[in-house]
Structure formats: structure tokens, C-alpha cells
Amino acid sequence: MKKITSIYILTGLLTIGAVTSCKKDFLERPPLDQLSETTFWKTPNDVYQAVMAVYNQLPGDGIIYEDGASDNAHAQYPWESSATDVSAGSLTSTTDAGWSFVDIRRANYFLANADKVTTIDAALLERYKAEVRFLRAMFYSRMVNKFGDVPLITTVLTLGQENVKRTPRAEVVKFITDELEAVSKILPQAYAGGKPNEKGRITKGAALALKARVYLNEGQFQEAADAASQVMTLGYSLFKVDAEEAIDAKDDYSKWVTFANAADEKKFRLGLRSYEALFHKVNEGNNEVILDRQQIDQKDANFLNTYLLPGTIGGWSSVTPTQELVNSYGSYKTGEAVTPTDPAQRAAWYIAKNPAFANEYKNRDPRFYASILFEDSPWNAVEDDYKFNWVQGASNMSLTGYNFRKMVDPAIYRLQVDNYANVILIRYAEVLLTYAEAKNETSGPDNSVYEALDAVRTRSGMPAVDRVKYAGKDALRVVIRNERRVELALEGQRYMDIRRWKIAPQVMKTINNIKNTQAQERVWNDRFYLMPVPQNEVDLSKGVLTQNTGYN
């Protein structure tokens, strides 16, 4: 019996002990793989890392879809972006063209908390904040471009506060430009390099250049010209190469261009290479770059090589040039616009494999050869003896007959990894063209306007603008606009350009391929000047958010 009693006691103790003998905080289980806000915002490194998370929201390779939504290019896959619907005119009030405040919240979150850190150098903190304020201004400029009036939110909203009215466009623009003006006075012109002053961070130049862009988009030409001319004093220059790579030298352009002499050929070839190599990894951070999205090998690459190349060499042909873009490249010989071949004639020649088909592609702007893959165009850099040939129909092939080669990095393509060249978001050539346009619009052509235009043209080997022929403001406007289209093709500017110039109704027309059959049916409606606020947002706001005109 004693034994049994002891078993009772033992078992009882064990049971009671097991159930009750536990740590005091047994039920307190903080997340072990995530930081908690209560322990963050202490050290300078905390601030450094929080800034990184805002930089993360910078746009990148997605800018090509902005051109896909314009007359420059065809974005063929509706699941990749809203550009397919926008260009086709099939967008409805439920289309979401980017109504998002995620990036803005990240910036606001940083700005609301950064001051908690007291151990950081005050000037450095101020600079960090200026960088983030720039980023927030940039995020807002994207929203204004797409939607016009947008709720202007500068604090971290808690749930329940988010039903905010749309702020009038002018007010948002004023906020953006005021912020850019303010941060341009804080940000350095350049960075020394090394943590935390790495090259690639937001500079004074970026703030001013973005300000110029925003003003230009709003039609405030005087302010745009002023901001641009400020940038022009900061020491940026257009990128140029003075020699060709060996692999590039193998490209035979004598079939395409009638060179006057060896010097002419050199001018052509270096012009082409200067323009093309500007976007390549090896020339990252060159003196033309004002802001670029940083990319690194494997860890954080862009998909431009994949999006742009044809399926035959492993790409998707996601965004491909239109015939209209091809037509806009002027004559290498005269610098003037060319008359494109009649579409029916082009198709007939193409189908019949008539050599006359190639004539259209001869003696064009070097940027044409640097930007567009057209039938039989050579490109040894991407593959030995490569010549582009359009394969129609099969998956991942262009529907227009052309592919882009601009912004593709053939050297990285050969390494079989994704393109990790930085994506340029603002470069000096744009500033020059902004200046030229804004100045021309405010006070008509003057030397500074021609100089800005010529700088851009001659870098690529094109002749200077005929100052006699284009002496008038209106005549020069045509040149400037085409120059902007050609120089900045695929860089995301065309979407706003055709809107602010009010030419979208004329240019957003059904596009055909080189066989003159339809590549994409397009219709234009004036409501497309602005994108719709997604209908579910309008509904959810119970009338606080208004819809843009034409989408009801």
C-alpha cells in the first residue's frame, strides 16, 4: 500500500508540476524574425536602412510600359501592365493604372519617425530627409500625371483616416515643386562615395531636373526653363565614346548608310555607340546621368533584356516599336524628317522579299540603328553574326515587325544573367530638351535653344538644326518635339508628351505591322487624358473620391 501511495503522490506531483511549472511569460511570444517598432529608430544605421526602403520604391524597368501606352510602342501583354488597355482604348473605370499610395506611405513613415533618432549627425539626418522628400515628390508627380487631382497625404494615416478628398492638381503640383525647390537647397551636387555618401543618391541636380520636368508637364514653361537652366550650370555633360568596342566594330553599316568618307563613317559609328552605350552597365553613372535606379548583378537586376528582345533570342517582345516611331527617325544625311514608304508598298516588298524593302532603313539617324531591331539589322554584340529577322506570330515575338535594342545590354545578355545595368530615370539630354522646349515656348528660338538641341543631336552624329529653316517658334517646335520623341524613346516620357501637346487624338491610331496588317486596334477618347480612379475606390469612398470625367 505504501508503494501505491507513493505512486499517487509522484503522479500527482508530476501532473501538477508539469501543468503549472512554467515560465512567467509562457504566453508572451514576440515575433522572432521581425523587428518591432518599439526597438527600432535608435541608431544612425536604423535611419540609413529606413531610407533604403524608400529608395526601393523608385521606378525601374517599368518605365518602358509608359511608352507602350503611347504611340511609340506596343505593349502586347495585358497582364504585364495596363498599357495594353490604355493604348487600345479598352480601359474602363475598373482599370487600375497605378492608383497606389504604398510608396508615399513609406516616405511618410520615414519622415514621421526619423527625428526619433537623436544619435545621428543633424546635417546627415537633414540630407536623408531631403532625399526622401524628393522621392515622395517624385511619387506624387507620377500620380498627378496619371490622375490629375490626387489626395495629398503627407502623414502616416491610421485606419479610419484614409478617406481623403482629391487635392486639386495645381495644389499637388505646388507641393511637389516647393518640396523640390526646398530639397535642392539641402542636397549636395555630388556624393563623395562610400557609406553613407554613396554615389547614386539623390542630388541637387535631380531635384532641379525633376522640377523642370514637372513644370514642363504642367505647361509652366518659364519655371521649367528656369529649373532646367539651373541644372545646366551643374556640370553635367552628354555621354560620348571615342572608340568602338571590337565586337561592335564587326557590325557592317555600309549596307545601310552611304558614308561620304571614313571620317563620316566614324562620326556615324561613334554617334551610334555613344547613344547606345549610355545605357550599358559599363558606363553606369556617367556624367549624363542625373538619377538612375541602382541595380546589381543577380540580386536586383532589371528585366529589360527579357522584355525587349525577340523570342528567337530568349526575350518576350513585351514592348516593341511601332512603325510610327520608326518613321520619326530623321535622315542622317540631312537631319530632316524622312518620308516613310507607303505601308502597302512596304508590305508588298517585304512579302516579296524585294531588296527595295530595305531602302526605307537606309541613311537614318544613328539613334535609329541604336534603338530599333529591324529586318536584317546587324548586332554582333548580342550574338556573333546576329541579324534580326522578324518571326511573326509565334509566342514572344513582336507583332509590329520590330523589336527594341535600346536599353538592352548585349554584354550582359552574353553572360546569360539578367540585365543589371542601372535604369536611367533622369538624364542630362532630357534637361537640354526640356530647356529647349520651354524656352522656345516662352520666348521663341534663341542661341541657347539651338545649342541645347544641337548638343543632343550631334552627340549621336546627327547634323545640327538648320537655324535658318527653323527660325520660327512654331517651325522649331516641330523639330523639338520630334527630337524629344527620338532621343527619349522608351524612357517613359512619351505618355505625358502626347497628352500635354494634345496630339494624342491624332497619334493614338490603330497600329499595323510591316505587312500592313493590324498589330493592335486602337481607339482614342478624350477621357484617356486622365486615367480613371479605380471604380471600387470611388465606391468605397462613398462619394468622397470623385471620378475623372468620362468614366462614369
Binding site: 505512486i7 499517487y8 524574425d33 511618410n108 533570342i313
Partner: protein
Amino acid sequence: MYKIWNPNLCLQKRGVTKLLLVMKLTILLLTTVILQVSANSFAQKVSLSEKNAKLTKIFDKIRLQTGYDFMVTKSTLKNAKPVNIEVKDKEFLDVLKMIFADQNLNYSFSNNAIIVSEKPFSPNFPATIIKALINVTGKVLDEKGLGLPGATIKIKGTKRVDITDATGRFNLKGIDENAILVISYLGYDSKEVKADAAAEMVITLTPQNSSLNEIVIVAYGTQKKTSLTGAIATVTPKQLKDRPVTSIQNALQGISPGLTILQRPGDVSRDAAASTAVSIRGRGSLVTTAGTGSPMYVIDGIPASAQEFATLNPSDVSSMSVLKDASSAALYGSRAANGVIMVTTKRGSGDKTTVELNANYGWQSPTKIAHYAGSVDYTTLYNEALTNAGAAPLFTDEQIQWYKDGSKPDLYPNTDWYKEVLRKTAPLSDINLNINAPGKITNSYLGLSYLNQESIIPNRSQDRIVAKLNTETTIVPEILKVGTNFSFINQNFDRSGNMAWTELNRSLPTSVFRQSNGEWGSIDNGKANSQTAGRNQVRMIDESGKGWDRDNYLQTAANATLTPINGLSINGLVSLKYTNGNSWAFNNTMSPINDFLTGKPMASTQKVQNDMLEYWRKRKELLVQGTADYERTFGKHYGKVTLGASQESNMYRTALVGRKNFPNNDMTTVVSGSSNPEDMNSDADGQANRSNEEDWAMRSVFGRFNYVFNDKYLLEVNTRIDYSSRFRKDVRQAVFPSFSAGWNISKEDFMKNVNWVNNLKLRGSYGSLGNQEVVRVGNYYDRLNTGYQYSFEESPQGGVWSDKISNPRASWEKVFMTNIGIDLTLFNGKLDITTDYYIKDTKELLMRVPALATIGVNTSTTDAVNSGLPLSNGAATRNKGFEFAVNHNNKIGDDFTFSVGGNFSIINSKITKLGAGNEVVDGKYIQKIGESIGSFYGYEAEGLFVDAADVTNHAFQTVNTKPGDIKFKDLNGDKKIDAADRKVIGNDVPWLNYGFNINATYKGFDFSILTYGVAKVKTYLSEEAAYPFFNGANLKEQWLNRWTTANPDPNADFPRILTTAAGAHNYNPISSFWLFSGSYFRVRGITLGYTIPQDVSKRIGLSKLRVYGAANNPFTIMGDKRLADYDPESGSGRGGYPGMKTWSIGLSAGF
């Protein structure tokens, strides 16, 4: 025929042999059915018309009419008198009485024979075996005290058998005074009693099959089935024994309405649980994350994962209970909102050691598989799609002709990629061995099983070893018992290459699979194409790499039961589970495919970098639990109290390592890869070289009180209080009470005379349950995200950000369930009916309250991983359901027994509260007050536009609308189709679930069939599943029946064909056009088995041998013909591993 035999065994050897032979034959043929035969045959009618007939002649006639042989010796009959008899259709027993009335003979039943002997019994036996003989009378009663006519009375150890008369009485003369009577009757438990001549014996039999005396497992204990008040479905050991099943899911299948088991025997994978979806009483939660909506599993009293349940071997299972209502599940409180499935495994029982071996081998093949168009259809329809979009045809007539005649297979092939890539069938084998060893002090049970399953994707297989050892040791007899459970699961999954279904589905018939020179295909539609060449999934399987998963689960548990005084038992349980998983994947470098036309390598088909990823996972779960039970009976009152407490903690830690650039493709460990920083490999989740951990813990106390009065009135009260680490301190506690009551109407006096009702019980319960699974660990902390964000100067930088808004007050979801049920057993257990009606109110349901995008986080209300919105307790749903199950057991003739069952359940679900709002539209779904969960929201399709006039006359849709497009109904009549014209168009939750099952045995044969069906449910198919040429893919053959200009049928199966890139089509707007009826009726399983007669199997040393063939999902009837390639139980139609059917053969042997 009658047998003449001589009782003088010593003298007539020949007779002995003959007798033995006769007996042997009789036993051989009839042993298995003795009792049934004798019981039933008394009801036979006999007609005789004889005058002065010899008794032997009468015997012959009776034999012809009844099949009974008479066993009699010549000497016995020497004094027999001739018989005069004239009967018509008279009871056999009565006839016998008449025949023997004047004879000096006795008769008795033995097997299928009637033994005739002299009266009184011969006194000529040797003195040594003479014993005192007695005469015994008595009656056999059923559970209600009514006489049981035809019950068999056997005298143990002899061949002597009698049966009761019409009033249940028997009269045995001249039997041994120590004789043991074995009384049996079909449907009742046999009973052994000592013969007693002193008074009339009264023997009451208890029904066996009505399962009234079954002990069922309930939360933290067991209960008699008669005293249950909750809605509990059970699978008894007997059922498991009678209905051999090959999987644990099949064992549950069809046992109870409201229990839905969708088997998706998908691809082999490390997650066996993923292939089966179990749900009890429908969906309640609005948020769907992994694990929500699935019931809680409890194996041997220990909460278990769906994975552990799915890998259970059915032969290791002793019994199962499904707790459906709040009252029965209440003691599992916070995790029982979706019901509980409890399993106990065997732990050694019976009176001797048994060894059983089961093995089966099967062939899996797809139930339904996509049929993609061949080259001719593809090219022709592609041209049509282009023409429809206003573009020019792409494929020339000449090319289509080449596809047609197959004259240029190197350029214009017709490749059936499904055929090239997939296997037609894949084997599946399963073998298990179990040893059941009862012992004086320790009982033990050992179960071992091995499963090997291959995939229809080549070179992909898994094998699994499960070992289970249970013991039960008596330390102090009657007072202390200690038990242990060990189980070990080792699961290996191996694959070669990376087969991607989306890539396979995009492969075109116009792409060459292999060129005639033996190289991989490089040509698509006559031209080299590195995209299509690189897509070749056979090459991907052969060359792109390999991977494996190794998972081990170890569970150790010990329990002790102490019974210090009668009625009190104290139980303790400690369980430690340890899971260790390891996954590895290597992606090879690959050499390029050569261009067939130029012979040059196609650079982008090359892969120049190899890489490796390796995951480590470890989980530790510790459970400590103690309960105490005290039960007492005072007169007609019975009471039982259960009190308990438990504590659980769970730790889950994972790590990932990986690198790129290994010297060759044969490396197996990460260390041999490049150590450059940029060669650190990563997965979609972030970077390699990381570890993560997630911990949670729970503490609970609970109690139950049962009260029964006079076996008629039952009452039960339960309460559980839970504390979970998932919630902040102030909202951590939750109390889950429940009540239930039952009334055994059949025990009432007024039912005494209603013979055909064996059991009638009315049950009712109300209670609350909780759900904590929806809330993620660490919910109430303001968490910040960390990880790679940006880089400067080629150096990657981590960042910190906040993209989730927290709601520290998020708390338990609560389920309030009312259940009313009736259990009915009729006709001695031949008919069983169970029916339940319930209302399941889920309140304080966690939902993401829709917020405007201006809040600045991902505002999806359904994407649990990415949404930045917090969960808050804002919504409520109400499920109402009706469940009905009926079972009929019977036999026809002597050898044919069968049971037929049917059940259905109707579920009606409604959202009753949605935070502050009325509706949330999310993609194609809407959550709306008054509507069911899972409602589709969109336009109502009215067929297709016939012609241009039709388009013009109809409300304006878009500028692109053309004849052949889907016509949407203008609901508000404003002559334009816009968001205001949308409505609820269907629902993806089946309203009706039903099933039938049949089990039958005939002699050694057994047969069972299980079916399952759902009705009134819709499926929405889009993208690859429904659209042609989606993202460059092929199209399915169903599209051949589409709208065309030649046949502008407004009711064609599909609209005018367009490529998805042509923005003009209106496939994308959510409309009822793409809603397909998801109703189906499926034969879930068929088994046909044959048990070799025991004397044959004994000869080869087996106590039992059964061979069988089985089929899983062999036939399906679909409600919608357009769903030609869609298995109704596969989650989505977007194209993935198809649903599987299995045909298998197997054997089970006992030693």
C-alpha cells in the same frame, strides 16, 4: 438423403470414417453460417402428404423442401413407426414435432442437419463418461424482454443444438449438468450461460449491431454511445474491420453527412495532406489562409497536423470520431470551430498475438486531362482569331497543308506535348505489417508501413515509411496503467528536373519536340525559335536539375492513468513531437539547343550558371495535459465530472542556404559553390543564408459534467477557457461554454410495445467554439519588415519598412452552434437513421475591413500574405444545415449480407455582418450581407451577339464589341453596360453534398462501392483554363464548338475566338458566361475482395487471406460538358497536375 451411422464407434471402423467424412463435409460447407441458417430456417414451411410412410422417406422429402439432412443410425430407426401426415405450408418446426410425436426418438439441430437419436439417450456408454443428465427449460428475450423465436441454443463442446420456439422458449433434455449453453441470434451478441435445471432460465440478449453499447471516443475521454448528446459520427473498430480501406480518408468517406472529404490525389509532394481537403459543416471564415476551415485533428488525445492524419495507416486505427457540433467539440474550444476528427490507434488487444500483412499495388492515371488542339486546328483557329481582330491571317494555306499531311515533320510538326511529357500511368504501392501483441502486463501494437508512389511526371516519386509503436502497461493492477505512443514518419520525395505546368500548357503543337537528327527540337512553324525550343519540358525534366525533400516526424508520448478509488481516474499525458525537414534543389547548367537549320547553338537556350538551395526546417511541439474523471451512480442517477488542464508550445524554425556557380552539376552540398557575395542564392522570399522562427503557446483549463437520469434523460455541460499567445494580454482569454441534452424516447414506458423501434433519441445542443488560426503569430506587435531593399555602388543594402498595419486587439473568432438531432434504430438494427439540423453562427469573424488605397499599404482583403490591412473582429456568418443519413443492413438467403447507406447534407450560408459596410468586392468574388460566402459577382451573360444589329440594339458595352462577343444583361436598363449592371451570379460553395455506399458480402466475396456528389455549385474558369491562346498558349479542343461567322449561334459554347493579346475581346469582364456548373457525381471507390476459405488458407499457414481489387475515383459524371478537361475536385482549372484515379490490386493476410 439421410445418413445411417452406428454409434458403436469401437466396432465399426468403416462407419467411423464415414461419419467423420460426413461431418467434415458438413462443417466445411457450413461452419461460417451455422447460426444464421438455423435461426432463419425455422421459418421455413413444409408440405407433406404421406400415409404409412417410412420415416426415412419422410426425411428425404423434408430434405428436398428444407435442405436439412437427417443424421441417424440404422439401429436408431429399427423401432421407428410409420408416419401418417397431412400438412400444407406448415412451420417446419411444427411439422417436425408432428413427425416425432409418436416416435421414441429425439431430434436436435446440428449445423444444417438434424440429429436423430433414441429416446431416452442410450445408457450403453462406458461408465466412465456417464455424467448426471438434466433437463433444462428457459426462454430467450430481446433487450425489451420479448421472446426471441428462433434463437439458437448450442451446448458448448458438443454438436447439440436447439432453437427456440415462437415464444422464445426452449426445452433441452438430457444434457450434462455442467453444460454451458451458447445462445445466439442474428444481430445480437452471443451469450454463454451455465445450464440450470432448477428453474426456467431467462436469458436476455443485447443487440449487437445497433451499436448502442459502443464506446465512443470524445474529447478527453470516452462515452457510451447511448449517453451521447452531441452530433458525433463514429467509425468503430468493427466497421474498420468489415470495410477494408486503403486510405484513412476512405475510412471516413461517407460515414456522416456534413463531413466533406475532397480527395485531390495530386502530384507526389512532401505535403501529403495537401491532396485531401476535409471540411465539417462547410465554410465559415471569410479569410482563407492555410489551415483555416480544416478541422482539428486529435490522434490518441494529442492535437495533430493534417499531415500526420493524412499519413495514418488505416490498419493502425482502432476507432475514429467526428465531432460536429459545439457541444461535442467544446472541450477543444479555441481550435474546434471547424469540428474535430479524433482517432485512436491500436494498442494491443484480444487474446492472442496476431500479425497482419497488407499489400497493394495500383496504377494511377488522370481522371480528366486537358486536350489541346493539334497543329491544324491550332493554325486554323489562330488565323480565325487574327481575322476576327481585324488582322491578317498568319499561317498560310501551304503551311496548314504541311501540318495536315505531316510531310515536313522537322519544320511543320504536330506535337502532342502532353503525350511527349507525361506518363500514361504511374504506379503506387503500399505495404504494411502490424503486430498486435496482448500481454499480461504490457500490451503492445506495432504498425509498419511503406508507401511508394510515382508521378505521371517522369522521374518523380515519393516514398514514406511509417512506424508506430503503442504500449500499455499495467503497473499496479486496477490502479495504475502507463501507456506510450511512438510514431515515426520518414518521407522522401525525389524529382528530376523542373517540370512547369504553365510552360507545358503553353507548348505549341507547331513546335518540334525532337528533330530528325535526334537533337532537341529548335523549330517552331518552320523557323528556329529559342523561346519555344527552351520551353521543351522533356528537356527540362531530363537536364535542368534535380531536387529532393526529406522529412521526418517523430512523436513520443507517455500517458498514465491512475484509478485510486472506484469511479475516479486521473490521467496525465506528455507528448513531444519533433519534425525535421530538409529540402534540396539543384539547377543545372545546360548546353544550348542547336538551330536545326543552321546547326548553330541558340544562345538563350543555354544556362551558364548552376545554383543550389537547401532548406532546413524543424518543429518542436510539447504538450502537457492532465485530466481527472469522477463518476458515480446513485440509484437511477448517474453523474460524471471531468476536469482538466493543458499547455502547449510550438516552435518552428527554418533556415535557407544557397549558392550559385558550382564547378559542375554533380555537387550535393552548398559548400562547393562560389563564395562570391553575388553568388549567394536566394528564393522568392528574400535572401539565402537566413533563418526564421515562429513560436506560439497555449494554456487551457476545461471541464465537463454529465448527468443521466434513468438512462432516459441526458444532460451535459462543457466549458473551456483558453489563453493563446497569438493575442495581446487583454484579449487573450476566451471562454467557450456549451450545453446539451438528450432524451432516449425508446426507453420510455409508452415505447415498450413498439417492437420495431430499438432506439429513438432526441438530442439538442448549444455552445460556442473558437478559432485562433486566422491570426498570425506576433499579431499584436508593430512589426517592421527587413530585407534587401536597394543597392549603392554595387553593394546590396538591407532596409527596414512598415507595410502592415497592426490591430493589437484582434481576438478569437467565435462559433455559436445550435444542433438538434434524432437517432433512430429500427427493426433490430436493420435500419439506422441519423438526422441533424444546425445553425452555426460565426461571430466576431476576423476580416480585413476594406480600406481605400490612400492608407498606403496593400489593401487586398483576401491576400493574407501581402495585405497590409489588419484583421479585425468585424464580420459574422450564419450557416444553416440539414443532415440526413440512413443505413440499412440485411441479408438475403444464407450467404448474402449487405448494407446500403445514403446521406446528404444541405448547407445554406449567409454573411450577416461585414464590419461597418455592406459589401466587399474582391476580384470575381463579393462578400455581401445576405449573400453566401464564395459568391461570384459580375455581369449576367445573355449568350452571344448574333450580328451587328444585335450589337447596336443592345445596351452599349464597349466600342470594341462585335458579333460573337458575350452579351451582358443591362440590369438597370440605362442602355449601357457598366459596373452598376453587376450582380451575384453564382457561388462556389456546394449547397448539396450527397453520397451513397453499398457494402455486400457473398460467401467469401466482399464488395463495396462509395459514391459522392455535389450539386448547385459553380466554378469560374478564366485565363489558361478557358481562354484560347492565353499568353501565347495553345487552345483546348472544346473551342472547336465556338461562335463563328458561319455559324453565329448565340448559344455556342464559346464566343468568337480572339487572341488574348487582342484587347478587343470581352473575355475578361467577370460574367456568368465563364461560370460552369461544378456539380458532379463521382464513384469514389469500388472494392471487390475475396477471402480464401479458412481451411485453405490455414493449409498455407495463414489465419486469413484476402485478395482484392480496388478503384479510386473510377467514374465521374459532370454537370457541365464544357468542363471536358477539368477534374471537379482539383482546386483550379488553370492547368496543373490532373485529378487521379487509381486501380489497384492487393492482398491482406493474417498469421
